[in-house]
Protein backbone atom coordinates (compact mmCIF):
# COMPACT_ATOMS: atom_id res chain seq x y z
CA UNK A 1 0.00 0.00 0.00
CA UNK A 2 1.24 3.37 -0.95
CA UNK A 3 1.80 5.66 1.91
CA UNK A 4 -0.52 8.59 2.37
CA UNK A 5 0.72 11.97 1.38
CA UNK A 6 1.25 13.94 4.56
CA UNK A 7 0.43 17.22 2.90
CA UNK A 8 -3.24 16.38 2.61
CA UNK A 9 -5.78 16.29 5.38
CA UNK A 10 -8.16 14.29 3.26
CA UNK A 11 -6.96 11.98 0.56
CA UNK A 12 -9.39 9.79 -1.31
CA UNK A 13 -8.15 7.35 -3.92
CA UNK A 14 -10.57 5.65 -6.28
CA UNK A 15 -13.33 5.67 -3.69
CA UNK A 16 -16.31 3.59 -4.70
CA UNK A 17 -19.57 2.88 -2.94
CA UNK A 18 -21.93 0.25 -4.24
CA UNK A 19 -25.19 -0.60 -2.52
CA UNK A 20 -26.36 -4.08 -3.33
CA UNK A 21 -30.08 -4.52 -3.04
CA UNK A 22 -31.96 -7.64 -3.88
CA UNK A 23 -31.17 -8.65 -7.42
CA UNK A 24 -29.21 -5.66 -8.65
CA UNK A 25 -26.82 -3.13 -7.25
CA UNK A 26 -26.62 0.63 -7.22
CA UNK A 27 -23.43 2.56 -7.61
CA UNK A 28 -23.67 5.68 -5.45
CA UNK A 29 -20.05 6.70 -5.91
CA UNK A 30 -17.66 5.61 -8.57
CA UNK A 31 -13.94 6.26 -8.66
CA UNK A 32 -13.77 9.44 -6.63
CA UNK A 33 -10.34 10.99 -6.25
CA UNK A 34 -10.18 13.95 -3.95
CA UNK A 35 -7.65 15.73 -1.81
CA UNK A 36 -8.29 18.48 0.67
CA UNK A 37 -5.55 20.32 2.51
CA UNK A 38 -5.51 21.88 5.92
CA UNK A 39 -7.23 25.22 6.13
CA UNK A 40 -9.38 24.85 3.03
CA UNK A 41 -13.03 25.80 2.80
CA UNK A 42 -14.67 23.42 0.37
CA UNK A 43 -18.23 23.43 -0.86
CA UNK A 44 -19.57 20.21 -2.31
CA UNK A 45 -22.63 20.77 -4.46
CA UNK A 46 -24.82 18.67 -6.63
CA UNK A 47 -28.45 17.79 -7.16
CA UNK A 48 -30.12 15.43 -4.74
CA UNK A 49 -29.28 11.81 -5.45
CA UNK A 50 -25.95 12.78 -6.93
CA UNK A 51 -24.02 11.01 -4.18
CA UNK A 52 -22.91 13.95 -2.08
CA UNK A 53 -24.46 12.53 1.10
CA UNK A 54 -22.70 9.24 0.49
CA UNK A 55 -19.48 11.16 -0.03
CA UNK A 56 -19.98 13.07 3.19
CA UNK A 57 -20.79 9.87 5.14
CA UNK A 58 -17.58 8.30 3.93
CA UNK A 59 -15.62 11.49 4.56
CA UNK A 60 -17.10 11.61 8.08
CA UNK A 61 -16.22 7.96 8.72
CA UNK A 62 -19.86 7.17 9.30
CA UNK A 63 -19.75 4.73 6.43
CA UNK A 64 -17.09 2.66 4.72
CA UNK A 65 -16.42 2.71 1.00
CA UNK A 66 -16.75 -0.56 -0.89
CA UNK A 67 -13.61 0.21 -2.86
CA UNK A 68 -10.63 2.53 -2.83
CA UNK A 69 -8.62 4.09 -0.05
CA UNK A 70 -9.36 6.99 2.23
CA UNK A 71 -6.73 8.62 4.42
CA UNK A 72 -7.80 11.16 6.98
CA UNK A 73 -4.92 13.10 8.50
CA UNK A 74 -2.64 10.37 7.11
CA UNK A 75 -4.61 7.65 8.89
CA UNK A 76 -6.00 4.78 6.88
CA UNK A 77 -9.70 4.69 7.67
CA UNK A 78 -10.08 1.05 6.72
CA UNK A 79 -10.40 -0.09 10.32
CA UNK A 80 -12.93 -1.45 12.81
CA UNK A 81 -16.00 0.34 14.16
CA UNK A 82 -14.37 1.23 17.45
CA UNK A 83 -11.46 2.88 15.73
CA UNK A 84 -13.81 4.75 13.43
CA UNK A 85 -15.79 6.03 16.42
CA UNK A 86 -12.53 7.31 17.85
CA UNK A 87 -11.65 9.03 14.56
CA UNK A 88 -15.08 10.69 14.46
CA UNK A 89 -14.60 11.78 18.04
CA UNK A 90 -11.13 13.26 17.66
CA UNK A 91 -10.82 14.40 14.06
CA UNK A 92 -14.29 15.29 12.82
CA UNK A 93 -16.89 17.79 13.91
CA UNK A 94 -20.35 17.28 12.42
CA UNK A 95 -22.94 19.95 11.76
CA UNK A 96 -26.27 18.52 10.62
CA UNK A 97 -29.20 20.10 8.86
CA UNK A 98 -31.53 19.17 11.73
CA UNK A 99 -28.95 20.04 14.41
CA UNK A 100 -29.31 16.57 16.02
CA UNK A 101 -28.99 17.89 19.54
CA UNK A 102 -30.04 15.88 22.60
CA UNK A 103 -33.30 17.56 23.54
CA UNK A 104 -33.53 16.43 27.16
CA UNK A 105 -30.30 17.95 28.44
CA UNK A 106 -28.93 21.49 28.57
CA UNK A 107 -26.92 22.89 25.68
CA UNK A 108 -23.87 22.83 27.93
CA UNK A 109 -24.33 19.07 28.39
CA UNK A 110 -24.77 18.75 24.63
CA UNK A 111 -21.52 20.53 23.93
CA UNK A 112 -19.46 18.72 26.52
CA UNK A 113 -20.62 15.25 25.46
CA UNK A 114 -17.90 14.72 22.80
CA UNK A 115 -15.32 15.62 25.44
CA UNK A 116 -16.74 13.01 27.82
CA UNK A 117 -16.46 10.42 25.06
CA UNK A 118 -12.90 11.61 24.59
CA UNK A 119 -12.17 10.82 28.23
CA UNK A 120 -12.29 14.28 29.81
CA UNK A 121 -13.48 14.58 33.38
CA UNK A 122 -16.82 16.31 33.71
CA UNK A 123 -15.14 19.30 35.33
CA UNK A 124 -12.56 19.82 32.60
CA UNK A 125 -15.15 19.20 29.91
CA UNK A 126 -17.43 21.82 31.41
CA UNK A 127 -14.71 24.47 31.35
CA UNK A 128 -13.93 23.80 27.71
CA UNK A 129 -17.58 23.55 26.65
CA UNK A 130 -18.29 26.91 28.33
CA UNK A 131 -15.47 28.57 26.44
CA UNK A 132 -16.75 27.18 23.16
CA UNK A 133 -20.34 28.23 23.83
CA UNK A 134 -19.13 31.72 24.65
CA UNK A 135 -17.28 31.74 21.37
CA UNK A 136 -20.49 31.06 19.42
CA UNK A 137 -22.29 33.70 21.45
CA UNK A 138 -24.40 31.47 23.65
CA UNK A 139 -22.53 31.99 26.92
CA UNK A 140 -25.66 33.26 28.62
CA UNK A 141 -27.87 30.35 27.56
CA UNK A 142 -25.79 27.46 28.85
CA UNK A 143 -28.42 26.03 31.21
CA UNK A 144 -31.15 26.19 28.57
CA UNK A 145 -32.44 23.15 26.80
CA UNK A 146 -32.31 23.13 22.97
CA UNK A 147 -36.11 23.31 22.78
CA UNK A 148 -35.96 26.76 24.38
CA UNK A 149 -33.76 28.13 21.61
CA UNK A 150 -34.38 29.33 18.07
CA UNK A 151 -33.22 27.36 15.04
CA UNK A 152 -30.24 29.63 14.49
CA UNK A 153 -29.22 29.30 18.13
CA UNK A 154 -29.56 25.53 17.94
CA UNK A 155 -27.32 25.42 14.92
CA UNK A 156 -24.79 27.51 16.83
CA UNK A 157 -24.94 24.93 19.63
CA UNK A 158 -24.26 22.27 17.01
CA UNK A 159 -21.29 24.30 15.77
CA UNK A 160 -19.99 24.60 19.31
CA UNK A 161 -20.36 20.85 19.74
CA UNK A 162 -18.48 20.26 16.50
CA UNK A 163 -15.72 22.66 17.55
CA UNK A 164 -15.23 21.61 21.13
CA UNK A 165 -12.79 18.78 20.43
CA UNK A 166 -10.65 20.94 18.10
CA UNK A 167 -11.24 18.57 15.19
CA UNK A 168 -9.12 18.43 12.07
CA UNK A 169 -12.13 19.02 9.89
CA UNK A 170 -15.65 20.34 10.25
CA UNK A 171 -18.24 18.61 8.09
CA UNK A 172 -21.46 20.53 7.61
CA UNK A 173 -24.36 18.82 5.87
CA UNK A 174 -26.86 21.42 4.62
CA UNK A 175 -26.11 23.61 7.66
CA UNK A 176 -28.62 26.27 6.61
CA UNK A 177 -31.26 23.90 5.26
CA UNK A 178 -33.64 24.40 8.16
CA UNK A 179 -32.98 28.08 8.71
CA UNK A 180 -34.39 31.27 7.23
CA UNK A 181 -32.08 33.30 5.02
CA UNK A 182 -31.06 35.77 7.74
CA UNK A 183 -30.04 33.22 10.37
CA UNK A 184 -28.63 31.06 7.58
CA UNK A 185 -26.35 33.92 6.63
CA UNK A 186 -25.23 34.24 10.25
CA UNK A 187 -24.32 30.57 10.38
CA UNK A 188 -22.40 30.87 7.11
CA UNK A 189 -20.52 33.87 8.45
CA UNK A 190 -19.60 31.89 11.50
CA UNK A 191 -18.25 29.07 9.34
CA UNK A 192 -16.25 31.57 7.35
CA UNK A 193 -14.80 33.10 10.49
CA UNK A 194 -13.84 29.65 11.71
CA UNK A 195 -12.10 29.04 8.41
CA UNK A 196 -10.17 32.29 8.82
CA UNK A 197 -9.02 31.03 12.20
CA UNK A 198 -7.49 28.05 10.41
CA UNK A 199 -10.22 25.42 10.61
CA UNK A 200 -10.75 23.15 7.64
CA UNK A 201 -14.38 23.22 6.59
CA UNK A 202 -16.37 21.11 4.15
CA UNK A 203 -19.95 22.12 3.41
CA UNK A 204 -22.27 19.80 1.57
CA UNK A 205 -25.25 21.50 0.00
CA UNK A 206 -27.57 21.50 -2.97
CA UNK A 207 -27.72 25.29 -2.71
CA UNK A 208 -25.14 26.99 -4.90
CA UNK A 209 -25.67 30.20 -2.94
CA UNK A 210 -24.42 28.44 0.19
CA UNK A 211 -21.52 26.85 -1.63
CA UNK A 212 -20.58 30.22 -3.04
CA UNK A 213 -19.13 31.13 0.35
CA UNK A 214 -16.48 28.46 -0.05
CA UNK A 215 -13.06 29.05 -1.58
CA UNK A 216 -13.25 25.88 -3.59
CA UNK A 217 -16.28 24.32 -5.16
CA UNK A 218 -16.63 20.64 -6.02
CA UNK A 219 -19.59 19.49 -8.09
CA UNK A 220 -20.81 15.92 -7.77
CA UNK A 221 -23.10 14.33 -10.29
CA UNK A 222 -24.12 10.71 -10.72
CA UNK A 223 -21.54 9.55 -8.21
CA UNK A 224 -18.62 11.31 -9.86
CA UNK A 225 -16.83 14.59 -9.42
CA UNK A 226 -17.64 16.59 -12.49
CA UNK A 227 -15.87 19.79 -11.58
CA UNK A 228 -13.41 20.95 -8.95
CA UNK A 229 -12.48 24.57 -9.18
CA UNK A 230 -11.41 27.52 -7.09
CA UNK A 231 -14.27 29.84 -6.47
CA UNK A 232 -13.13 33.20 -7.73
CA UNK A 233 -16.53 34.65 -7.10
CA UNK A 234 -16.27 33.85 -3.39
CA UNK A 235 -18.97 35.66 -1.49
CA UNK A 236 -17.60 37.61 1.40
CA UNK A 237 -19.85 37.40 4.36
Amino acid sequence: MEKANNDYLIEMRNIEKVYSMGSGSFKALGDVNLTISKGEYVGIVGPSGAGKSTLMNIMGCLDKPTGGEYFLDSLDTNCNDNKLAEIRNRKIGFIFQNYNLLMKVSILDNVLLPLLYLGYTKKAARVKAKETLEKVGLGSHMKHKPSELSGGQMQRVAIARALVTNPEIILADEPTGALDSKTGAEVLKMLKDLNHEGNTIVVITHDKGVAAHAKRMITVKDGCITSDELNDKEVSA
Partner: protein, 397 residues
Protein backbone atom coordinates in the same frame (compact mmCIF):
# COMPACT_ATOMS: atom_id res chain seq x y z
CA UNK B 1 -17.31 8.11 30.28
CA UNK B 2 -17.82 7.77 33.96
CA UNK B 3 -20.50 5.58 35.43
CA UNK B 4 -21.93 8.47 37.47
CA UNK B 5 -22.49 10.39 34.24
CA UNK B 6 -24.24 7.39 32.72
CA UNK B 7 -26.44 7.02 35.79
CA UNK B 8 -27.29 10.72 35.51
CA UNK B 9 -28.27 10.27 31.86
CA UNK B 10 -30.34 7.24 32.85
CA UNK B 11 -32.10 9.20 35.60
CA UNK B 12 -32.93 12.02 33.17
CA UNK B 13 -34.42 9.49 30.79
CA UNK B 14 -36.42 7.80 33.59
CA UNK B 15 -37.65 11.17 34.85
CA UNK B 16 -38.69 12.46 31.43
CA UNK B 17 -41.04 9.48 31.04
CA UNK B 18 -42.41 9.36 34.57
CA UNK B 19 -45.61 7.40 34.04
CA UNK B 20 -44.09 4.93 31.67
CA UNK B 21 -41.11 4.41 33.98
CA UNK B 22 -43.40 3.86 36.94
CA UNK B 23 -45.55 1.34 35.08
CA UNK B 24 -42.41 -0.45 33.99
CA UNK B 25 -41.16 -0.55 37.56
CA UNK B 26 -44.48 -1.82 38.87
CA UNK B 27 -43.64 -5.45 38.15
CA UNK B 28 -40.38 -5.11 40.04
CA UNK B 29 -42.05 -3.19 42.88
CA UNK B 30 -44.68 -5.90 43.33
CA UNK B 31 -42.09 -8.67 43.04
CA UNK B 32 -39.62 -7.20 45.51
CA UNK B 33 -42.24 -6.14 48.06
CA UNK B 34 -43.94 -9.53 48.02
CA UNK B 35 -40.63 -11.36 48.39
CA UNK B 36 -39.78 -9.16 51.37
CA UNK B 37 -43.19 -9.54 53.02
CA UNK B 38 -43.48 -13.28 52.41
CA UNK B 39 -39.97 -14.07 53.59
CA UNK B 40 -40.63 -11.76 56.56
CA UNK B 41 -43.80 -13.67 57.38
CA UNK B 42 -41.93 -16.95 57.08
CA UNK B 43 -39.23 -15.71 59.43
CA UNK B 44 -41.85 -14.34 61.81
CA UNK B 45 -43.70 -17.64 61.96
CA UNK B 46 -40.47 -19.54 62.39
CA UNK B 47 -39.46 -17.27 65.25
CA UNK B 48 -42.86 -17.60 66.90
CA UNK B 49 -42.89 -21.39 66.67
CA UNK B 50 -39.36 -21.71 67.93
CA UNK B 51 -40.08 -19.30 70.80
CA UNK B 52 -43.02 -21.42 71.83
CA UNK B 53 -41.05 -24.62 71.62
CA UNK B 54 -38.04 -23.35 73.50
CA UNK B 55 -40.24 -21.70 76.15
CA UNK B 56 -40.92 -25.25 77.27
CA UNK B 57 -37.25 -25.67 77.99
CA UNK B 58 -34.60 -27.42 76.03
CA UNK B 59 -34.34 -30.23 78.57
CA UNK B 60 -37.74 -31.56 77.68
CA UNK B 61 -38.17 -34.91 75.97
CA UNK B 62 -41.63 -36.00 74.81
CA UNK B 63 -42.52 -39.67 74.50
CA UNK B 64 -45.67 -40.40 72.54
CA UNK B 65 -47.06 -43.88 72.96
CA UNK B 66 -49.50 -45.21 70.44
CA UNK B 67 -52.63 -45.71 72.48
CA UNK B 68 -53.38 -49.17 73.82
CA UNK B 69 -50.21 -50.73 72.46
CA UNK B 70 -48.71 -50.92 75.91
CA UNK B 71 -48.51 -49.00 79.10
CA UNK B 72 -45.69 -48.19 81.43
CA UNK B 73 -46.27 -49.10 85.03
CA UNK B 74 -45.45 -46.85 87.97
CA UNK B 75 -42.65 -49.19 88.96
CA UNK B 76 -41.12 -48.96 85.53
CA UNK B 77 -41.32 -45.18 85.69
CA UNK B 78 -39.50 -45.22 89.02
CA UNK B 79 -36.83 -47.43 87.54
CA UNK B 80 -36.43 -45.20 84.49
CA UNK B 81 -35.95 -42.19 86.73
CA UNK B 82 -32.80 -43.79 88.12
CA UNK B 83 -31.23 -43.99 84.65
CA UNK B 84 -28.44 -41.52 83.89
CA UNK B 85 -29.57 -38.22 82.39
CA UNK B 86 -33.21 -38.58 83.33
CA UNK B 87 -34.42 -36.28 86.09
CA UNK B 88 -38.20 -36.46 86.20
CA UNK B 89 -41.00 -38.15 84.29
CA UNK B 90 -44.58 -36.96 84.08
CA UNK B 91 -47.06 -39.30 82.42
CA UNK B 92 -49.98 -37.48 80.89
CA UNK B 93 -53.53 -38.56 80.22
CA UNK B 94 -55.47 -36.09 78.17
CA UNK B 95 -58.98 -35.91 76.92
CA UNK B 96 -60.87 -33.22 75.11
CA UNK B 97 -64.58 -32.43 75.31
CA UNK B 98 -64.97 -33.41 78.91
CA UNK B 99 -68.18 -32.16 80.52
CA UNK B 100 -67.78 -29.71 83.37
CA UNK B 101 -70.44 -28.06 85.49
CA UNK B 102 -70.54 -25.49 88.25
CA UNK B 103 -73.78 -24.20 89.69
CA UNK B 104 -76.19 -24.03 86.80
CA UNK B 105 -73.59 -23.52 84.10
CA UNK B 106 -72.03 -26.37 82.16
CA UNK B 107 -69.45 -26.51 79.43
CA UNK B 108 -66.82 -28.73 77.91
CA UNK B 109 -63.08 -28.42 78.23
CA UNK B 110 -59.81 -30.28 77.88
CA UNK B 111 -58.45 -32.38 80.70
CA UNK B 112 -54.76 -32.89 81.29
CA UNK B 113 -53.95 -35.29 84.06
CA UNK B 114 -50.53 -35.95 85.48
CA UNK B 115 -48.42 -36.10 88.60
CA UNK B 116 -46.83 -33.50 90.84
CA UNK B 117 -43.77 -32.81 88.63
CA UNK B 118 -45.96 -32.02 85.62
CA UNK B 119 -46.09 -28.32 86.42
CA UNK B 120 -42.34 -28.08 86.70
CA UNK B 121 -41.67 -29.94 83.47
CA UNK B 122 -44.30 -28.06 81.42
CA UNK B 123 -43.35 -24.75 83.08
CA UNK B 124 -46.85 -24.16 84.38
CA UNK B 125 -47.33 -21.72 87.22
CA UNK B 126 -50.38 -21.00 89.31
CA UNK B 127 -51.63 -17.48 89.85
CA UNK B 128 -53.68 -18.56 92.87
CA UNK B 129 -53.72 -21.58 95.14
CA UNK B 130 -51.42 -24.48 94.51
CA UNK B 131 -50.63 -27.13 91.93
CA UNK B 132 -51.39 -30.89 92.13
CA UNK B 133 -49.21 -32.51 94.80
CA UNK B 134 -47.89 -36.03 95.26
CA UNK B 135 -50.36 -36.43 98.07
CA UNK B 136 -53.28 -35.65 95.73
CA UNK B 137 -52.01 -38.28 93.32
CA UNK B 138 -51.37 -40.95 95.97
CA UNK B 139 -54.72 -40.46 97.66
CA UNK B 140 -56.72 -39.92 94.47
CA UNK B 141 -58.15 -36.71 95.81
CA UNK B 142 -60.86 -35.03 93.74
CA UNK B 143 -58.99 -31.77 93.25
CA UNK B 144 -58.19 -29.84 90.14
CA UNK B 145 -56.29 -26.83 88.84
CA UNK B 146 -58.23 -24.69 86.41
CA UNK B 147 -57.22 -22.52 83.44
CA UNK B 148 -58.26 -18.87 83.54
CA UNK B 149 -60.44 -19.09 80.45
CA UNK B 150 -62.31 -22.14 81.72
CA UNK B 151 -62.86 -20.39 85.06
CA UNK B 152 -64.13 -17.32 83.26
CA UNK B 153 -66.45 -19.45 81.13
CA UNK B 154 -68.06 -21.34 83.91
CA UNK B 155 -67.88 -19.02 86.90
CA UNK B 156 -67.65 -15.65 85.22
CA UNK B 157 -64.61 -14.77 87.30
CA UNK B 158 -61.16 -16.24 87.95
CA UNK B 159 -60.88 -16.00 91.71
CA UNK B 160 -62.23 -19.55 92.11
CA UNK B 161 -59.89 -21.36 94.55
CA UNK B 162 -62.00 -23.35 96.98
CA UNK B 163 -65.03 -23.51 94.68
CA UNK B 164 -66.66 -26.77 93.75
CA UNK B 165 -67.24 -28.00 90.21
CA UNK B 166 -68.31 -31.23 88.52
CA UNK B 167 -66.25 -33.16 85.99
CA UNK B 168 -68.21 -35.87 84.17
CA UNK B 169 -70.66 -35.62 87.03
CA UNK B 170 -68.10 -36.15 89.78
CA UNK B 171 -67.53 -33.45 92.34
CA UNK B 172 -64.11 -31.72 92.47
CA UNK B 173 -62.59 -29.01 94.54
CA UNK B 174 -60.59 -26.29 92.82
CA UNK B 175 -57.19 -25.88 94.46
CA UNK B 176 -55.40 -23.62 92.00
CA UNK B 177 -55.77 -21.29 89.01
CA UNK B 178 -53.20 -21.42 86.21
CA UNK B 179 -51.34 -18.34 85.11
CA UNK B 180 -52.73 -17.14 81.80
CA UNK B 181 -50.54 -18.08 78.84
CA UNK B 182 -52.34 -16.25 76.09
CA UNK B 183 -53.06 -17.70 72.70
CA UNK B 184 -50.66 -19.84 70.75
CA UNK B 185 -50.58 -21.52 67.36
CA UNK B 186 -52.46 -24.52 68.77
CA UNK B 187 -55.32 -22.31 69.95
CA UNK B 188 -55.86 -21.03 73.44
CA UNK B 189 -54.00 -22.89 76.14
CA UNK B 190 -55.95 -21.31 78.97
CA UNK B 191 -59.04 -23.44 78.43
CA UNK B 192 -58.24 -26.62 80.36
CA UNK B 193 -58.31 -28.31 83.75
CA UNK B 194 -55.52 -30.31 85.32
CA UNK B 195 -56.31 -33.36 87.45
CA UNK B 196 -54.18 -35.77 89.46
CA UNK B 197 -53.48 -38.68 87.13
CA UNK B 198 -54.81 -41.29 89.53
CA UNK B 199 -58.12 -39.46 89.87
CA UNK B 200 -58.38 -38.95 86.08
CA UNK B 201 -57.91 -42.66 85.42
CA UNK B 202 -61.08 -43.22 87.40
CA UNK B 203 -63.08 -40.29 86.07
CA UNK B 204 -62.13 -40.69 82.41
CA UNK B 205 -62.08 -44.47 82.64
CA UNK B 206 -58.69 -44.74 80.95
CA UNK B 207 -55.70 -46.21 82.63
CA UNK B 208 -53.09 -45.69 79.99
CA UNK B 209 -51.07 -42.57 79.54
CA UNK B 210 -50.40 -41.71 75.91
CA UNK B 211 -47.74 -39.11 76.49
CA UNK B 212 -44.82 -38.96 78.85
CA UNK B 213 -42.91 -35.78 79.50
CA UNK B 214 -39.36 -36.48 80.53
CA UNK B 215 -37.06 -33.85 81.92
CA UNK B 216 -33.39 -34.43 81.29
CA UNK B 217 -30.92 -33.37 83.98
CA UNK B 218 -29.43 -30.80 81.64
CA UNK B 219 -29.36 -29.94 77.97
CA UNK B 220 -26.19 -31.98 77.58
CA UNK B 221 -27.78 -35.16 78.90
CA UNK B 222 -30.81 -34.99 76.57
CA UNK B 223 -29.20 -37.43 74.14
CA UNK B 224 -28.19 -39.86 76.88
CA UNK B 225 -31.66 -39.73 78.37
CA UNK B 226 -33.20 -40.28 74.95
CA UNK B 227 -31.12 -43.36 74.24
CA UNK B 228 -32.03 -44.91 77.63
CA UNK B 229 -35.68 -44.19 76.94
CA UNK B 230 -35.46 -45.81 73.52
CA UNK B 231 -33.63 -48.80 74.93
CA UNK B 232 -36.35 -49.29 77.51
CA UNK B 233 -39.18 -48.80 75.01
CA UNK B 234 -37.63 -51.10 72.43
CA UNK B 235 -37.34 -53.83 75.02
CA UNK B 236 -40.92 -53.27 76.03
CA UNK B 237 -42.18 -53.43 72.44
CA UNK B 238 -39.84 -56.25 71.45
CA UNK B 239 -38.01 -54.10 68.92
CA UNK B 240 -34.42 -54.53 67.80
CA UNK B 241 -32.23 -52.23 69.84
CA UNK B 242 -29.67 -51.89 67.10
CA UNK B 243 -32.05 -50.33 64.67
CA UNK B 244 -31.16 -46.70 65.05
CA UNK B 245 -34.17 -45.53 63.11
CA UNK B 246 -36.49 -46.48 65.94
CA UNK B 247 -37.48 -42.84 66.33
CA UNK B 248 -40.20 -43.63 63.80
CA UNK B 249 -42.06 -46.81 64.45
CA UNK B 250 -45.59 -47.86 65.08
CA UNK B 251 -45.22 -48.13 68.83
CA UNK B 252 -43.81 -44.87 70.12
CA UNK B 253 -42.06 -41.66 69.26
CA UNK B 254 -39.36 -39.97 71.29
CA UNK B 255 -38.86 -36.30 70.52
CA UNK B 256 -36.59 -33.72 72.06
CA UNK B 257 -37.36 -30.03 71.85
CA UNK B 258 -34.43 -29.67 69.50
CA UNK B 259 -35.87 -32.20 67.08
CA UNK B 260 -39.30 -30.57 67.32
CA UNK B 261 -37.66 -27.25 66.62
CA UNK B 262 -35.84 -28.65 63.62
CA UNK B 263 -39.02 -30.14 62.20
CA UNK B 264 -41.00 -26.95 62.72
CA UNK B 265 -38.24 -24.82 61.25
CA UNK B 266 -37.95 -27.09 58.23
CA UNK B 267 -41.67 -26.92 57.63
CA UNK B 268 -41.84 -23.15 57.77
CA UNK B 269 -38.69 -22.84 55.66
CA UNK B 270 -40.17 -25.01 52.94
CA UNK B 271 -43.30 -22.90 53.00
CA UNK B 272 -41.33 -19.67 52.89
CA UNK B 273 -39.19 -20.88 50.01
CA UNK B 274 -42.21 -21.88 47.98
CA UNK B 275 -43.92 -18.55 48.52
CA UNK B 276 -40.78 -16.60 47.70
CA UNK B 277 -40.39 -18.68 44.56
CA UNK B 278 -43.83 -17.57 43.43
CA UNK B 279 -42.96 -13.96 44.24
CA UNK B 280 -39.68 -14.30 42.35
CA UNK B 281 -41.62 -15.27 39.24
CA UNK B 282 -43.24 -11.83 39.30
CA UNK B 283 -39.73 -10.37 39.31
CA UNK B 284 -38.98 -12.23 36.11
CA UNK B 285 -42.25 -10.94 34.64
CA UNK B 286 -41.17 -7.45 35.72
CA UNK B 287 -37.87 -8.01 33.96
CA UNK B 288 -39.64 -8.89 30.74
CA UNK B 289 -41.60 -5.64 31.11
CA UNK B 290 -38.34 -3.75 31.37
CA UNK B 291 -36.98 -5.47 28.29
CA UNK B 292 -40.13 -4.57 26.39
CA UNK B 293 -39.96 -0.89 27.32
CA UNK B 294 -36.23 -0.71 26.67
CA UNK B 295 -36.80 -2.08 23.17
CA UNK B 296 -39.41 0.62 22.55
CA UNK B 297 -37.03 3.18 23.98
CA UNK B 298 -34.22 2.08 21.67
CA UNK B 299 -36.47 2.58 18.66
CA UNK B 300 -37.71 5.95 19.90
CA UNK B 301 -34.21 7.15 20.53
CA UNK B 302 -32.66 5.85 17.34
CA UNK B 303 -31.78 9.38 16.32
CA UNK B 304 -30.18 10.11 19.69
CA UNK B 305 -28.12 6.94 19.36
CA UNK B 306 -27.09 8.00 15.86
CA UNK B 307 -26.06 11.43 17.11
CA UNK B 308 -24.07 9.97 19.97
CA UNK B 309 -22.30 7.63 17.58
CA UNK B 310 -21.57 10.43 15.12
CA UNK B 311 -19.87 12.51 17.79
CA UNK B 312 -17.74 9.61 18.89
CA UNK B 313 -19.63 7.16 21.15
CA UNK B 314 -18.28 3.67 20.78
CA UNK B 315 -20.42 0.55 20.74
CA UNK B 316 -19.39 -0.20 24.30
CA UNK B 317 -20.42 3.28 25.45
CA UNK B 318 -23.92 2.93 24.00
CA UNK B 319 -24.20 -0.61 25.38
CA UNK B 320 -23.21 0.54 28.86
CA UNK B 321 -25.55 3.51 28.68
CA UNK B 322 -28.61 1.38 27.93
CA UNK B 323 -27.61 -1.36 30.37
CA UNK B 324 -27.28 1.20 33.13
CA UNK B 325 -30.60 2.69 32.15
CA UNK B 326 -32.30 -0.71 32.47
CA UNK B 327 -30.54 -1.34 35.78
CA UNK B 328 -31.56 2.12 37.00
CA UNK B 329 -35.21 1.47 36.20
CA UNK B 330 -35.17 -1.89 37.95
CA UNK B 331 -33.01 -0.58 40.79
CA UNK B 332 -35.41 2.28 41.52
CA UNK B 333 -38.21 -0.28 41.28
CA UNK B 334 -36.27 -2.38 43.79
CA UNK B 335 -35.91 0.53 46.22
CA UNK B 336 -39.62 1.35 45.92
CA UNK B 337 -40.36 -2.36 46.37
CA UNK B 338 -38.36 -2.40 49.60
CA UNK B 339 -40.27 0.66 50.83
CA UNK B 340 -43.61 -0.93 49.91
CA UNK B 341 -42.43 -4.15 51.59
CA UNK B 342 -41.71 -2.30 54.84
CA UNK B 343 -45.05 -0.50 54.68
CA UNK B 344 -46.83 -3.80 54.00
CA UNK B 345 -45.03 -5.43 56.91
CA UNK B 346 -45.99 -2.52 59.18
CA UNK B 347 -49.64 -2.79 58.12
CA UNK B 348 -49.56 -6.56 58.62
CA UNK B 349 -48.08 -6.21 62.08
CA UNK B 350 -50.27 -3.35 63.21
CA UNK B 351 -53.66 -4.28 61.80
CA UNK B 352 -53.54 -8.04 61.36
CA UNK B 353 -51.07 -8.90 64.15
CA UNK B 354 -49.06 -11.05 61.77
CA UNK B 355 -45.55 -11.62 62.96
CA UNK B 356 -43.25 -10.39 60.21
CA UNK B 357 -39.52 -10.20 60.67
CA UNK B 358 -37.66 -8.44 57.84
CA UNK B 359 -33.98 -9.28 57.82
CA UNK B 360 -31.42 -6.86 56.38
CA UNK B 361 -29.96 -9.69 54.32
CA UNK B 362 -33.17 -10.31 52.43
CA UNK B 363 -33.61 -6.58 51.74
CA UNK B 364 -30.09 -6.30 50.36
CA UNK B 365 -30.47 -9.51 48.38
CA UNK B 366 -33.83 -8.41 46.96
CA UNK B 367 -32.42 -5.04 45.89
CA UNK B 368 -29.35 -6.65 44.32
CA UNK B 369 -31.60 -9.11 42.53
CA UNK B 370 -33.75 -6.31 41.13
CA UNK B 371 -30.67 -4.58 39.69
CA UNK B 372 -29.55 -7.92 38.29
CA UNK B 373 -32.95 -8.41 36.64
CA UNK B 374 -32.54 -5.04 34.91
CA UNK B 375 -29.04 -5.90 33.73
CA UNK B 376 -30.02 -9.31 32.41
CA UNK B 377 -33.16 -8.15 30.65
CA UNK B 378 -31.38 -4.99 29.46
CA UNK B 379 -28.72 -6.91 27.57
CA UNK B 380 -30.81 -7.57 24.49
CA UNK B 381 -32.15 -4.01 23.98
CA UNK B 382 -28.77 -2.45 24.86
CA UNK B 383 -27.00 -4.69 22.41
CA UNK B 384 -29.53 -3.78 19.76
CA UNK B 385 -28.93 -0.08 20.40
CA UNK B 386 -25.17 -0.44 20.29
CA UNK B 387 -25.33 -2.24 16.96
CA UNK B 388 -27.31 0.47 15.17
CA UNK B 389 -25.64 1.78 12.07
CA UNK B 390 -24.97 5.51 12.61
CA UNK B 391 -26.14 6.59 9.15
CA UNK B 392 -29.43 4.72 9.35
CA UNK B 393 -29.88 5.96 12.91
CA UNK B 394 -29.29 9.58 11.92
CA UNK B 395 -31.68 9.32 8.98
CA UNK B 396 -34.40 7.74 11.17
CA UNK B 397 -37.47 9.92 11.64
Amino acid sequence: MRITELIKIALISVWSNKIRSFLTMLGIIIGISSVIILVGMGNGTKQKVSDQISSLGTNLITVNVTRNRFSITDEELEELKTKPGIKEIAPQISSSNVNIKAGSKSSTTTVEASNAVYAEIKKYTVSQGRFITARDVNNRYNVLVIGTETAENIFGYTNVVGETMYVNGIQFKIVGVLESEGTSTSGTSDDKIILPISTAQRVLKTSKASTYYVEAESQDTVDTAMSYLKMFLNKKCGLDNLAESTTTNNYYRVLSQTSLLTTATETTSTMTNMLSGVAAISLVVGGIGIMNIMLVSVIERTKEIGTRKAIGAKRRTILTQFLIEAATVSGIGGILGVVVGYIGAYIGKTFFSTSIIISQDIVIAAFAFSVLVGLVFGIYPANKASKLNPIDALRFE
